[in-house]
């Protein structure tokens, strides 16, 4: 490691709590839509089969005994499960709260009323990718926009918290201003989140039509940064162009000033999830994260979740990823941004490079600039 980088980078220790605080559960492998960038379908690691009700209820009892606080139900489309009320009763009985990731189209009054009565729903996240059907449906299929908006209005009628997520892709990148106006001004949502289509699952098949190119990425970053200021922080992101725009601006400022390393910079620290939560696939296989569906840690109701959480070698290897310096990668050789870089998402790193313990090329600022990108 170059001396000037050694001074800037100092690994930090991490501890693991006794059990996970929350779980992401793909409660079904079925979906009413076939979105062109879905990470879930066309994943060779996945087994597309559903578990019976009793298997999930037994597992929820285990989660209750471990003091798990929250579960997020995803899929597939979670509202496609006919036994959803029974599953939710199992979650409530085990003293947990829950949330959903949904396309909204299957949310009717009956299930919304049931959810509201539990008092345990944190939010239902509904995907909205356009300000109108033409844009939204371009990647999600005909009728999906109307379904999503109908679902949101149903949730609002029942006073259930709605969290909208906008996935940015080639067909909606020019519609962001209209989307913000539609969601925040017309629908009256308090806020919404953004990310972007990533090179996973079905998106790999449609990458040329869906993924943002450098120019579009630059436009998305500039537009989102402007809209975030205009709407006073009501637009958020944990990934995608808005996150990149903010992060890369900080990184460039730090580099220009030769500033000390960021506290998590210079190593593969891009993901803290394995310290707080864990995921379960629709077929009951426990994995570190939905984005790492190939890393099989065990199976629900066969293997102890607490044992996996505390002692799984694969999980602990992922947790120790933060000790791996970026200076050891040929990909990063000579990069001036190393002290400020986290290597980003291991899931994307895996799908793009075939290796989990590698920085994600998708999040590489140097590469973005070399390809004609600019800090906005």
């Amino acid at each position: 490691m170059p001396e000037e980088l050694k001074d800037k980078i100092e690994p930090t220790a991490s501890r693991v709590m006794r059990t996970p605080r929350s779980l992401d559960i793909e409660i079904t492998s079925r979906c009413n839509l076939r979105c062109r960038y879905c990470y879930f379908f066309n994943n060779p690691a996945m087994v597309y089969r559903d578990l019976p009700t009793d298997e999930w209820l037994t597992f929820f009892d285990e989660l209750g005994s471990l003091g798990v606080m929250r579960v997020t139900l995803a899929g597939g489309e979670p509202f496609i499960r006919e036994d959803l009320p029974v599953l939710l009763e199992g979650i409530v009985r085990n003293r947990m709260r829950f949330s959903f990731l949904s396309n909204g189209a299957l949310i009717g009054d009956e299930i919304a009323a049931f959810i509201a009565r539990t008092g345990r729903c944190e939010y239902v996240q509904v995907s909205v990718d356009g300000s109108c059907a033409e844009v939204h449906d371009s990647c999600r299929g005909q009728g999906s926009f109307d379904g999503a908006i109908c679902g949101i209005r149903t949730l609002q009628r029942h006073r259930i918290s709605v969290a909208v997520r906008v996935t940015i892709h080639r067909n909606n990148v020019h519609d962001l201003e209209n989307i913000a106006h539609f969601l925040l001004d017309e629908l009256g949502l308090p806020n919404f989140g953004t990310n972007s289509a990533g090179y996973m699952g079905t998106c790999r098949v449609n990458a040329d039509d869906v993924l943002l190119n450098t120019e579009e990425r630059k436009e998305a970053m500039a537009t989102l940064l402007r809209l975030t200021a205009k709407y006073d922080g009501r637009i958020s992101a944990n990934a995608g162009p808005l996150t990149d725009g903010r992060m890369w601006r900080r990184m460039e400022e730090a580099r220009a000033q030769n500033a000390p390393a960021f506290h998590n910079g210079g190593r593969l620290t891009g993901c803290g999830c394995p310290s707080n939560k864990i995921s379960v696939r629709a077929d009951g296989v426990i994995v570190p994260c939905n984005m790492l569906a190939h890393v099989e840690l065990g199976r629900i109701n066969h293997d102890s979740l607490a044992e996996i959480w505390q002692n799984s070698p694969a999980l602990n290897q992922l947790r120790n990823r933060h000790t791996i310096p970026l200076t050891g990668f040929e990909f990063c050789a000579g990069c001036a941004y190393i002290p400020y870089c986290t290597g980003n998402c291991p899931g994307l790193a895996y799908t793009l490079t075939g290796t989990v313990d590698h920085p994600s090329p998708d999040a590489c600022l140097r590469r973005f600039l070399e390809e004609g990108g600019a800090i906005v």
Partner: protein, 95 residues
């Protein structure tokens, strides 16, 4: 019915022991969470509606070394805070 001075842990609240003996008390109905140290965990486990705060302090003094003189006051304040936030109730006694 009269309220007694015997605190009882709200059965809906989850005690999550996380690091060493430190823990989080989580109320899934309200999403409120309170972090607590090992003494707080021990107090929580003793609040069964049968022990008064004095009884609980006595048991804590027997379980932990070097319990400070202010223990009663501190534990009473801890229980009151939990009660104010719905984590703890007071056992009700029928006349």
């Amino acid at each position: 019915m009269n309220q007694t001075d015997r605190p009882i842990a709200n059965p809906i609240v989850v005690l999550r022991e996380e690091f060493d003996d430190w823990a989080v008390l989580f109320n899934p109905d309200t999403a409120d969470a309170v972090g607590t140290n090992p003494v707080g965990v021990a107090v929580w486990k003793l609040m069964n509606g049968k022990r008064s705060i004095e009884d609980i302090v006595l048991e804590i003094k027997n379980s932990f070394e070097d319990t400070p003189d202010a223990a009663f006051k501190e534990i009473a304040a801890f229980v009151n805070t939990l009660a104010e936030n719905g984590f703890v109730g007071l056992e009700v006694e029928s006349k």
